[in-house]
């Protein structure tokens, strides 16, 4: 494939000012992709769309993407004999002391992240033609070679410790940049998450902000029906972090997160979200919304119609 920045591989150069509009486009593009692939992680894009849009357009102090608009093919795993390995983190800009980092913990949100990178002009729309294609890096559950991913975090509860270690190291180095971590509420069931929260509070790590996508669902259904995570805020506060709850679809509330920071305490923001937000066609599946597989061609057609309606909505 031609990877020169030719026509067709150009990135979106007019990113809307309004994060709500970016979020709407994230949902639509994710929906189109799921229809194309006959299934996928759609609800994750629905619950995270506003948060990812606000992170990339407002909250994070990151530089321009250093990755090619069309990603290179899979280059193998990192290793001593693979010096050409490319990190997906380069789509979040250069690693500089004064710049922020973004760590996505649940890599089941990879599609949500890829379409976000497209909508904010860091990846070419045509990139998605390679989604879930053999030999590419836009994997269903990405690793650190996938665009936007700096670590390999699909085994739950692990990213929070790594992000905290990065934040601690950055403090030791005197970096001014912040670390942003996006995790899912299901990870509250992992013991390591609580080990990490205790450590972060104990070591007074305040250059890390954790956003929890509290969409209340997991593979087996409703989170509260599997193993309750509530009262989540009280539990997190009991571990010594500052914790606030917001409507995760409220752009204004997301924009106000930095004002919540406190010196000497980690900040955890519970983003209460709806896994079928802006995707009413999917609501009848709830709580079985973790992964969408079309039960019939008719159902797929119904999603197609819904996508067309969403598209028209934006034109008006």
């Amino acid at each position: 494939m031609d990877r020169s920045p030719a026509a067709g591989t150009a990135v979106i150069d007019e990113v809307p000012d309004d994060a709500r509009e970016i979020a709407r486009r994230i949902r639509l593009r994710a929906l189109r992709q799921v229809i194309e692939n006959k299934g996928g992680y759609l609800s994750q894009a629905c619950s995270s769309a506003e948060a990812l849009a606000v992170l990339y357009t407002n909250l994070m102090n990151i530089g321009a993407s250093e990755g090619p608009a069309m990603p290179a093919p899979y280059q193998g795993v990192p290793g001593p004999d693979n010096p050409d390995y490319l990190s997906g983190g380069m789509y979040n800009g250069p690693k500089r002391p004064e710049l922020d980092r973004f760590i996505l913990s649940p890599t089941h949100y990879s599609l949500a992240l890829y379409v976000t990178l497209v909508e904010v002009g860091r990846l070419a729309p045509a990139t998605l033609d390679e989604f879930e294609m053999d030999g590419g890096t836009l994997e269903m559950i990405g690793a650190e070679h996938s665009p936007g991913l700096e670590i390999t975090s699909g085994s739950f509860g692990q990213a929070i410790s790594q992000a905290a270690g990065m934040a601690l190291a950055r403090r030791l180095k005197g970096d001014a940049g912040h670390v942003w971590l996006y995790i899912s509420d299901g990870e509250m069931q992992e013991g390591q998450t609580w080990e990490a929260l205790a450590s972060m509070a104990h070591h007074r790590i305040d250059n890390l902000t954790v956003l929890i996508d509290a969409n209340g669902q997991q593979v087996d259904g409703r989170l509260e029906a599997v193993t309750a995570a509530e009262p989540m805020r009280e539990r997190i506060e009991a571990f010594g972090a500052k914790c606030v709850e917001i409507d995760g679809h409220d752009v204004e509330a997301l924009l106000a997160i930095p004002a919540e920071r406190e010196t000497g305490r980690p900040l955890v923001v519970i983003c209460r979200t709806d896994p079928a937000r802006g995707m009413e066609v999917m609501r009848d599946r709830y709580p079985e919304t973790h992964y969408v597989i079309f039960r019939s061609e008719e159902e797929r057609e119904r999603y197609r119609d819904y996508a067309s309606a969403l598209e028209k909505e934006s034109d008006t």
Binding site: P80, Q162, A164, L172
Partner: protein, 336 residues
């Protein structure tokens, strides 16, 4: 008598790290038990006691390594290999990060029983892509493994001895990556040992030599990579067969590594693997457990007798006498 050294890591590690500001220490509530008291006192700003939360500790280490630091994780081998395997795989080994994991209390060197005896750590670590696996057998190796581990571009797991130990190898002959030490020469039996089993094996080799058994004795400190040509040459040259001896299960560790090398190269001799035979151990002294599990000098004599289908008449008294002679001189006199 051979030199006995008290707590070499305790004093050597802070000196070694003094001019390496990138070296940070993480420990799982085992600062003193991992001989870090002096390091902590000299470099408190580089010491992180992470509590009894090993999975989180490994993640922190991975994150710190990504930011250019050189984390040295100190805890017991069991807690690294068993409690944190997925964390090591995804937060450290997959991204090939320079996290060095020092696992103390290898095998039955501790009376701490099944919960504290790392008997499967080498097998587990050997299966990890990007991982380098080392084991120390004396004070010189406890000191020199730091340079070896530090030079590796990637993660390293090291079995480290603590407390009072022998200096079997001269201080000016440091551990070298993927390089066996030749402790004796002979063409009958290939004896390949690692860790504390090397010192134990040296108790028997003199008695066997006196009965005309030519033993090519190799001490192994690098379990992965495992392609030192000296090992294959030794195995190929052994007329009677091969004996491996390790402070570990006989599955997955040194014995398996040698067996893999033999089959891969079509070296078809017999191999007897001494070590723990598909069993956990329990809390008791090292000498008792080595005897109980057939990992001591007497078991080695028995293995060689097996290869010869003969009896050599070596009794316990003769082996006990070997403990009193200068083992260092013994192997130096045999080495060419």
């Amino acid at each position: 008598m051979i030199e006995a050294v008290s707590r070499p890591h305790h004093t050597n590690f802070p000196d070694w790290a003094a001019e390496k500001p990138e070296v940070v220490v993480l420990t799982g509530d085992l600062t003193r038990p991992c001989e870090l008291g002096l390091f902590r006192d000299r470099f408190p700003e580089r010491t992180f006691s992470m509590g009894m939360a090993e999975q989180n500790m490994i993640g922190f280490a991975g994150g710190m390594a990504r930011e250019g630091l050189a984390p040295y994780v100190h805890t017991f081998g069991v807690f690294i290999a068993r409690r944190t395997l997925d964390q090591i795989e995804m937060s450290v080994a997959y991204p090939n990060l320079p996290v060095k994991m020092l696992g103390f209390l290898p095998g039955i060197s501790t009376p701490g029983g099944a919960t504290h005896q790392a008997i499967d750590d080498m097998a587990i670590m050997r299966t990890l892509p990007n991982m380098t696996v080392l084991e120390t057998g004396d004070a010189t190796e406890v000191e020199s493994m730091l340079d070896v581990a530090h030079a590796v571009n990637g993660p390293v797991y090291v079995r480290v001895l603590r407390g009072t130990m022998r200096r079997l190898f001269p201080k000016d002959e440091p551990m070298k990556l993927n390089q066996a030490r030749v402790l004796g020469r002979g063409g009958d039996v290939a004896l390949i040992t690692s860790g504390i089993c090397t010192e134990e094996a040296l108790l028997a080799t003199q008695a066997l030599a006196e009965r005309g058994v030519g033993i090519q004795h190799l001490h192994i400190s690098t379990l992965k990579p495992f392609d030192d040509p000296a090992v294959l040459e030794t195995v190929l040259a052994a007329r009677r067969g091969v004996v491996t001896m390790e402070n570990h299960l006989t599955t997955g560790g040194l014995g398996s590594a040698v067996a893999e090398m033999m089959t891969t190269n079509g070296a078809g001799g017999r191999q007897i693997r001494l070590g723990l035979q598909d069993t956990y151990a329990h809390g008791a002294t090292q000498a008792y457990l080595m005897r109980l599990h057939g990992m001591d000098a007497r078991a080695l004599v028995g293995a060689v007798e097996d290869l010869y289908s003969d009896r050599f008449g070596v009794d316990d008294e003769e082996l006990a006498e070997a403990r009193l002679i200068d083992a260092h001189e013994t192997f130096k006199s045999e080495a060419l």
